[in-house]
């Protein structure tokens, strides 16, 4: 097979892979911001928790990282749910209007970021950690990929689609979408708004946690890795349109592919390229690709 096609395949699958992770991250943040109205700066910390949780479960207890998905998911949900039930509900009830709530909750998540990051630093230390799982080559039409990359891609798409179907079809999903449009009216229609917002925040944390579990199979982990992923998630949800779940899903893939191409051409400029696209987009179409 000619080299050009192999390079293309390499970039395409690499981009999809990165995009799958970004899509999960962004769907979680989109739910937290779009419905629960919390601009969660500590979103990346849940990724880090998911990744380190998996690392510990795998290296200490020998639990398969894919099984860890079933452990990390509920755990991150409980953490997110309780955080919203205690902290953000109080802030929401205290705030005189939506703008004050937006600012205060963002600052609170900033504090949360410090807390989670530093607890992780105390627990796991500042060194890079990594483990080996499914680390062998698979030949795909001439381009070689490690098996774990393909597994990550498969699971990221499966989780993303499952999550979307959950929002689109289930009763809770319907209530979530109703609250996203108009929380007051949704409350009048019998939706328990405090419970629902806490569920949304919890689900956002789950998406981050699962993304962390998947990512831990491939990249070295450090307690300070979270903020970069928060920033990427923010870029993606702006790209896809704030609050739009399908927008976040597709936006994640778009950013992943762009990122892979730029990394291929000029590795040290990939982050700069993200920001450039992001700022250009904000100037031209601030509502994003799928924005209303």
């Amino acid at each position: 097979m000619p080299q050009g096609i192999i390079t293309f395949l390499d970039l395409a699958i690499g981009g999809l892979l990165l995009g799958g992770i970004y899509a999960l991250l962004a769907m979680g943040l989109s739910l937290q911001y779009g419905v629960a109205r919390v601009f969660n700066v500590s979103h990346g910390e849940f990724i880090m928790l998911g990744a380190f949780g998996t690392f510990t479960l795998y290296t200490v207890f020998g639990i398969n990282p894919l099984v860890c998905l079933a452990i990390v998911g509920p755990l991150t949900f409980i953490i997110g749910f309780l955080l919203h039930k205690t902290m953000f509900t109080r802030l929401r009830l205290l705030a005189p209007n939506a703008d004050v709530y937006a600012a205060n909750s963002m600052l609170a998540t900033f504090g949360l970021m410090f807390i989670i990051q530093n607890i992780a630093l105390l627990a796991w230390g500042a060194n890079y950690r990594a483990y080996n799982y499914l680390n062998f080559g698979v030949d795909l039409w001439g381009a070689i990929f490690t098996a774990n990359r393909l597994v990550i891609l498969g699971f990221a798409i499966a989780i993303g689609v499952a999550f979307y179907i959950f929002l689109a079809r289930s009763r809770i999903g319907k209530a979530i979408r109703a609250s996203a449009q108009d929380p007051t009216t949704a409350g009048l229609m019998g939706v328990n708004i405090n419970l629902l917002l806490a569920i949304c925040f919890g689900l956002g944390a789950v998406m981050a946690g699962l993304a962390g579990t998947l990512m831990s199979m491939r990249i070295p982990l450090t307690p300070t890795m979270g903020l970069n992923y928060t920033i990427i998630a923010i870029i993606v949800i702006v790209l896809g349109g704030l609050g739009s779940i399908p927008g976040s899903f597709i936006g994640g893939f778009i950013l992943g592919i762009i990122g892979t191409i730029v990394t291929y051409l000029e590795p040290s400029l990939s982050l700069a390229a993200y920001y450039f696209i992001f700022m250009l987009l904000l100037l031209i179409k601030p509502t994003g690709i799928f924005g209303k």
Partner: protein, 325 residues
């Protein structure tokens, strides 16, 4: 101008307090230890960043996260113009240049982006910091081939007095801007931008100019503190915390009053310094807990606590219990 305005009790008491604090500050290097001078310099830096953030974001309600960009540009201006050997420009000129460059950037960015509302403006300014940082990193890695720069060493007292001068200039600007027609225009933009525009206020102009003024002070601060740090690189100069800390400190102190951000920044910066030396491993953790607690229990800042406290005291009864929270 009516002279009685300046002799009334409402004006006189804060004026006297400010004067006393000012004298204590100016004479600090005479009686204070070297540690004191360095500590107060660090605190002043945060106070300046916080007050200049409040200058723009307080009345207009646009939450800027670009502070680190303006600050970092000042730092870099200083590093480029004041190398360890062969620097020709006097310090004061460099500080002014640092401020002006930041100011020009703010003018351009403001003209482009100040039509973005709410969270969009916040994330845009946040992206600006990271974009500049990444481009600089790339530039240093692949064009110049060096990472970071060394800055000329300057005496601690000189740094302190320069910082103090910037602080005083900022407070005067803040004070007179707020009392001017211009300040009222900003206030009305914050309350209702469309109504302000209909009233004949050049909304864009007012916003952009204030944004540029606030950036000037951030840049100047960056330029002078760089001489204290002596080594800088993009990670140090454009550290994203310098965007978040001023917001936190201002809210911690209370945005409604002039002295709110000053008090908030002074307490927070002092706390940071003390925690950093006493508990180097736990300080960020404690910092986070304090931040969350402050937002949960003092949504109007420390300044907002005072009227509540006074009210409780007048009523008697539960005053003690309140003071402990």
């Amino acid at each position: 101008m009516d002279i009685t305005r300046f002799t009334s009790k409402k004006f006189l008491i804060p004026a006297i307090i400010s004067l006393v604090i000012l004298i204590a500050m100016v004479t600090l290097p005479v009686y204070g230890s070297l540690y004191m001078v360095i500590l107060i310099t660090a605190i002043l830096m945060f106070v300046i960043l916080t007050v200049s953030w409040t200058l723009f974001s307080g009345p207009t309600g646009y939450m800027s996260l670009a502070s680190a960009a303006f600050f970092g540009i000042g730092v870099y201006a200083s590093a480029i113009l004041l190398p360890t050997t062969g620097g020709k420009l006097p310090l004061l000129v460099v500080v002014v240049i640092g401020g002006l460059v930041s100011s020009i950037l703010a003018f351009g960015v403001g003209a482009l982006t100040l039509r973005l509302r709410g969270i969009y403006f916040a994330v845009f300014t946040f992206g600006l910091v990271e974009l500049i940082k990444q481009v600089l990193l790339w530039w240093e890695n692949s064009v110049t081939g060096t990472r970071g720069r060394y800055v000329m060493l300057v005496e601690n007292d000189v740094i302190f007095y320069t910082m103090l001068a910037i602080f005083m200039l900022l407070m005067l600007t803040f004070f007179f801007l707020r009392r001017s027609k211009y300040g009222l225009a900003m206030q009305s933009i914050g309350e209702n931008e469309e109504a302000a525009a209909h009233r004949g206020i050049n909304v864009t102009m007012v916003k952009v100019i204030t944004f540029a003024i606030s950036a000037f002070f951030m840049g100047a601060t960056g330029a002078i503190i760089a001489t204290r740090w002596t080594y800088i690189d993009p990670y140090i100069a454009f550290y994203i915390l310098y965007s978040f800390l001023p917001v936190m400190m201002a809210i911690f102190g209370g945005i409604g009053q002039i002295y709110g951000p000053v008090i908030g920044a002074a307490i927070f910066a002092y706390l940071e310094e003390v925690l950093l030396t006493k508990f180097p491993y736990y300080y960020m953790l404690i910092f986070g807990v304090v931040l969350v607690a402050a937002i949960l229990y003092m949504p109007n800042g420390i300044v907002g606590l005072v009227p509540r406290l006074v009210r409780r005291l007048r009523k008697g009864g539960s005053a003690k219990q309140h003071a402990s929270t």
